[in-house]
Amino acid sequence: MIAGVYQRKREGGEMIRRSRRIRIIIITLYILIPSFILSACQATEGRREIEDLGIVTAIGVDYIDDNVVVTLEVVNPLSSIGNNQASSNKSQEQKFIYPKGVGKTVKEALTNINLYLDKQVFLSHSNILVIGEEFAKRGTIDLMDFFLRDNDPREDMYIVVAKGCKASDIIGIRAGLGKPTGNYLYDTFNNFSATGKCINISIAENYRYYYDVSNEPVVGVVQLKELTSSDEELKNDDSTVTVLDVSGGAILKNGKLVGYFDGDEMLGFNMIVGDLRSGTISFHTPVTDKDKQNLIIGKDGELTTLDIIRTSTKRKISIKDGKIHLTIDAKLKGALNEINQALNVIDSEVISRIEEACSKKVEELISKTLEKGQKEFKLDSFSIGVAVHQQYPKIWKEIATEWQNIFPEITYDVNVETTIVKIGLINYPANLRRK
């Protein structure tokens, strides 16, 4: 077709040059093509096919008889969740397997798993690291270097302490809707913003707290909980189902577990650190006899529940006579969600009464948690040291190393201001029969 072009090129020494160039190209291809095709040899660091991977969704570490025991949750891809066709054919097959490895270090234990697991352990998709109570008491930082050094595990994996049990007890309980434990726990911890009664701290954050002298971390907690079954098939046997409860927080000191906050204390804790986005508070609004005629239009003495919409916390540090004083100013916006006390909420005076009562309740919560931190653990888990550092940097330099000794001594007062922005869809309590 383009004979003319060809002819023109053929002139002179063009032909010889062409053949030499072709030879160079062929030699290059000889070198390159095998290196492309055979590059699968670099098995560990480089290429690995998906079918060779054992996808881990949760990791548990325990200390048993001076050995590290790693429990993994590995998805069986053939039964897998994503593929409807496969799962309907092979629904009887096991969806997950729970291999355990024993070793002196975490990596050793993980490697030992591969002695009998036909897949390469692949940690990148695990969102949850469960630490057995025993392990947590020995220290969450020692022996954890692997999780930062290796390139497989994620740094933003949530670190969770198994309260009162081993990690291997937790891993394997799937109370979610057919989800692996890892995803179930991960999603439950993400409900943090809805309940305010738990906390999600990642491995990286845990390390950040560890390196910081001004505060100690509070990490998530998971514990086993027995519930009576409502499932029709199991009801008759009076059997129970085991679920995982994530309320509360584990208090660490120098990376070691020293104690726990319970769910309500975590509400106060999240309020102090200014990280409470949502949650509910129940309280009783005191009413005097004199008030009764216009405020109360029904039964007295029941609880009111407020849904927290937004909070903001300001922590002011003042120093008087060499003593550090903490003032916590919290603002809370909420919606009335449930009123059993039969208050006349269309009256603005009633609303301000409710606001006052709520503020008082929250103040109590905060004080209780602070007191527990000061008296029981003698530990600043509330990052109040950070506030001192920010507001009095010069003084902080002198007291930084001593801070954990100073913290139990500081005085504080708490002011909470509640604003009710919604009263709900009905004006009168539902239990009120109107005359």
Binding site: I2, F36, E49, I55, P77, A86, D152
Partner: protein, 477 residues
Amino acid sequence: MVSKKISLNKEELKEIFNNTSDLILYEFNTLCNCKALVAYIESLIDRNGLYNDLLKPLIHELKSPEDILTTVPIAGAVVVSDMKAIVKEMLMGKAALFIEDKNEAYIFELGKWQKRQIEEPGNERVIKGPKEGFVEDISVNKGLIRRRIKNPNLVFEDYTFGSKTNTSVSLVYLADVVNPAILNELRQRLKNINVESILDASYIEQLIKDSSKSIIPTVGHTEKPDVAVGKILEGRIAIICDASPIVLTVPKIFIENLQTSEDYYTMPKYATYLRLLRVFSLIIAITLPGILVALKSFHQEMLPTSLLMSMASSREDVPFSALIEALLMLIFLEIIKESSIRTPTAVGQAVTVVSGLVLGQTAVQAGLVGPVMVIAIGVSGITEFILSSLKEMIVLYRFIILLLGGTLGLFGVVCGIIMIIVHLISIKSFGIPYMYPVAPYDKDSMKDFIIRYQIDEKDDSWRISEKKGRRRNDKEK
């Protein structure tokens, strides 16, 4: 030279044309009783015109041999005495009239041959806008352009190429907007053309193209007169080639691949959206299989967990590695595409159904490929049709990126993309950098880049090859 004797002329013509059967040499006596010979190529001549306008007047009305030009009602008749020139004219559909005792011949324009009707070209369909397309006849094509630019500055410059085919080629430009440097460069390159045959405008494209080894199109093609006219108005030069419905435009810059004529007939905002879509398609078309293979075999941590799980379940039975799987699918796709273009329309439907539905689904069921790979290859295969002018580039670079992604992971993909970008920036089309308004950056010309601005009466900054190109060329000198 033409002889005075008709019989000698007759013999000479027979010899020149190698006694071909479609050469007609008709001898007759005119009214004034002098011998005459009409020579023409039968297949190129309008017979009615020949009988009514040439032979009839000559036989019935001609009073004297001197009155030929006034008697024959055909415009543009010329008198030629060179035999070679006569042969050339005859080959272009003209009739030669020899008169006894005259050493010259009259040439009459009587050309007529079968040509295709003007219809909508299959390649550049539009919903809104003119639907005419170029045909295989140069004079019709010239007319289509002239009809759109009623301006004496529109110049056609004719050339003939191909020592065997004698194909006519015409440059079209607006004398007052064209950049003379580009025009001279084009003339120079045309002068160097020395080929035996030109069958299509693409021959010329390959002969005048910058960086002839590159697979990036640095010469524009169009089959639509409105597109060609648009380019001419922007200061570009169009090249029409006889017997080809494709009109070339030079210089070409990269963004022209992402523009369509319809962009200018719809709302500017919608056109901008479509151009963004095309940029996205271009990226997907080239990189999607490579990125997917890289993710599957190197960077599983970058996939969302649920996608990884469904991939793992679908990959469990697949015997090949992700790279081989993708290569297989891609080659299947290319085979299907090639065969569906070549198959006769009656069978085409069946081929599409069998190849598309049956092969795709059963390949997944048989466990030859995973469903995710079928989707990725299918999507990148479709996107290629959005950017038909970049077809060659997309298909070949897709393979390269795929190989790089399958062997070196995302690192390889990124290296490949960088190399493509470097190549795009380094090439030029007739002195204009290929990535022109971006590299080198020119704010004024950005008005018709990816974001199309409103058509502005006074603004002519989009005439890249006129103003900016000239300035750039001056600098280089």
